[in-house]
């Protein structure tokens, strides 16, 4: 097989991985601060995807542009969910948190099924079938745009947590819960803001992902599983780890499909997960818990 085939597949895998990374960032942000594992992560993303499709169909607005308002809507949803539903469960055993969020996930899937039906939906942008020709490389234009948007959103989020006072306060909550309380931070509000931010990431990712993937209500659980593989590989709670995990999974799946059989792609991403769990249980960029 010609070298250009390997190069094409590698670039495609990395671009897909970037979008996977954005998808997983929200999960990592929420766990990193609130310490709640969002089992409704993929389902919330399908909500964002349907929202982007509805806006595209009714107003003709590009999903890349709609990533911002969709993120806003998901932020509100996440804030309300945390403040009204999840907060009472923060001090309860983990299994009751799991059950609560699994119940939320099942409800979302069924509501989407009732509202939108089982058929796959997508958006047809003017550039949906475009590709860039760079020498021997043929690069999917949609993936380039989606990957670029991912980098911008992740950089903005990183800057927020690094430099904004609110971001620093949220990090303080994540680092030392009692200390945050002692210095007078409103932890419950910060938790709700964090869940909202995580959900906003999901919203932006969903709006971008709809350019690449057709959405059905049944897609939610598959996305949840993928996000878990990525954040565990990259390091649960680490934003950069989530992006790195996405890139690794995207690249691994692409190369495994090329070198071995495409139907075994998932096997290799799970294999990578097993290796990480064996040799670096906290994930590639995760912090070791003593």
């Amino acid at each position: 097989m010609a070298a250009e085939v390997y190069l094409n597949v590698a670039v495609s895998g990395l671009l897909t991985g970037l979008v996977y990374g954005l998808m997983a960032v929200g999960l990592s942000v929420i766990f990193g601060v609130v310490r709640v594992v969002n089992f409704a992560h993929g389902e919330m993303m399908t909500v964002a995807m349907y929202l982007a499709i509805a806006l595209f169909n009714s107003l003709g607005l590009d999903p890349l542009v709609m990533a911002v308002p969709v993120a806003g809507v998901l932020f509100a949803l996440g804030y309300v969910m945390q403040a009204g539903l999840i907060n009472p469960f923060i001090t309860r055993p983990e299994y009751s948190q799991f059950m609560l969020l699994i119940a939320v996930a099942i409800i979302i899937v069924n509501v989407l099924l009732i509202v939108f039906g089982p058929d796959a939906r997508n958006v047809q942008t003017s550039y949906a079938f475009d590709s860039f020709l760079l020498g021997p490389l043929i690069i999917d234009a949609t993936k380039v745009y989606a990957g670029g948007a991912t980098l911008v959103i992740t950089a903005a989020l990183f800057a927020f947590f690094r430099f904004a006072p609110l971001g620093k306060a949220i990090r303080a909550c994540a680092d030392n819960y009692t200390g945050a309380l002692v210095v007078g931070l409103n932890v419950k509000r910060l938790y709700a803001l964090t869940f909202g931010l995580g959900a906003a990431c999901v919203g932006a990712a969903g709006s971008i992902l709809v350019l690449l993937v057709d959405v059905t209500p049944a897609l939610g659980p598959a996305l949840t599983l993928l996000a878990f593989i990525i954040v565990i590989t990259g390091g649960l709670g680490s934003m950069v780890g989530a992006v790195l995990g996405g890139l690794l999974i995207g690249f691994t799946e692409a190369m495994a499909g090329l070198f071995f059989t495409p139907s075994a792609k998932s096997m290799f991403s799970f294999g990578l997960l097993v290796l990480v769990l064996l040799f670096r249980p906290q994930g590639i960029l995760g912090k070791r818990v003593l």
Partner: protein, 415 residues
Amino acid sequence: MRRTSPLSCVRITRRSFAAGAGAAGLLAATGTANVARAQSGPLKVGVLLPRSGAQAGIGQDCQRGVELAPAMFKALGLPELAIMNADTETNVEVARARAEKLINDGAQLLVGAFDSGQSAAIAQVAEQKGIPFVINIAAAPQITEQGYKFVFRNFPTAPMILSDAFANQMELFEATGAAPKSVVFMHANDTFGTSMQQGINAVFPRFNMPYKIVEQIAYDATARDLSVEVAKAKATGADALLMVSRLNDAILITRELVKQRWSPMIVLSMGPGWYEDQYLKTLGKLSDGPMSFVPWYDPNKTLAQQLEAALAKAYPGINMNTNHVFTFEALLVAADAYKRARSSDPKALADAIRTTNITDNVSIGPGIQFNDKGQDDKLKNAAIQNRGGKLLTVAPKAASNAKPELPMRPYDRRG
């Protein structure tokens, strides 16, 4: 003097109650078995389809065939059917449980269930309970190889589909004077895709096809991205694609063909996906060209034209397809048998189905008849081609309504 009510004259003890209940139960059981169920009122038909779950879209498409039946049967002078709908949830165990429930609720005949696994489970229940089961769509050959007496299938088995597909391809290559010299065979790695792959590998050497299969690529039917698969297929330099897919993967592969700037000479599909309405609507002009080799309707038959007109009226913009045709025909078999049996007795119905001879039907072939195993072995497949958002039958010639276009127009020259 003690006053007693008439009821209190008989003292009911625990023992007498148990004996009475047992006798009543026995009476009820034998009563049910012995009452001759003469034709009175509509036949209760339980229709099992995957209305939710992974196959929900197809199940709901099949339902359109159910909805069209009553008015058309009335016009044909066939008896009324009382439809009892049930959802298999695309799950074999649920299909089994729903079949049992339908029978307990009074269903006198079952129809369904699109999928081989679900249909096989329902067949076991139907046979055990002695209730006729008419399969609308399911291709696994073993279902009618079990010696069942109450199971009937008006749908071709996988070997029948494959043999017809290669024969139709030869006819098309001869008619157009064009044929690929090499193909890449891409197939979904689910039960259907894998069994078709095994079948194709077994049947292919028996046909002197003008092309070689240069590479076989199995892929995950639920994949969200098939760019690697298409890149691998393109790298072989093959002339054409031989496909066994589902709907979503067919759409994904077409998108990748366009993005990766590869226009195969033709896409030859041996399964669903490439002819479905959602494929046509999603891809527009890019959906034109692929040929599908599938159980289909004869557009020249009167009943097919009537069904197509009824579908167009009830569901504007929906092209008639396998799902509508074979679900409608399964109910046609039920209504025809009920008319001839003049009874809803399961055995009488099964006997009537066994002697079915419906020549005024929709699907391709001489009509609906069942062999000793309950299989309609006279069904013929068609080759259909997507053109201008329509599905045209291009082979066999006797059932065609258009000439084939081969090679298909390259994706980058479609305006």
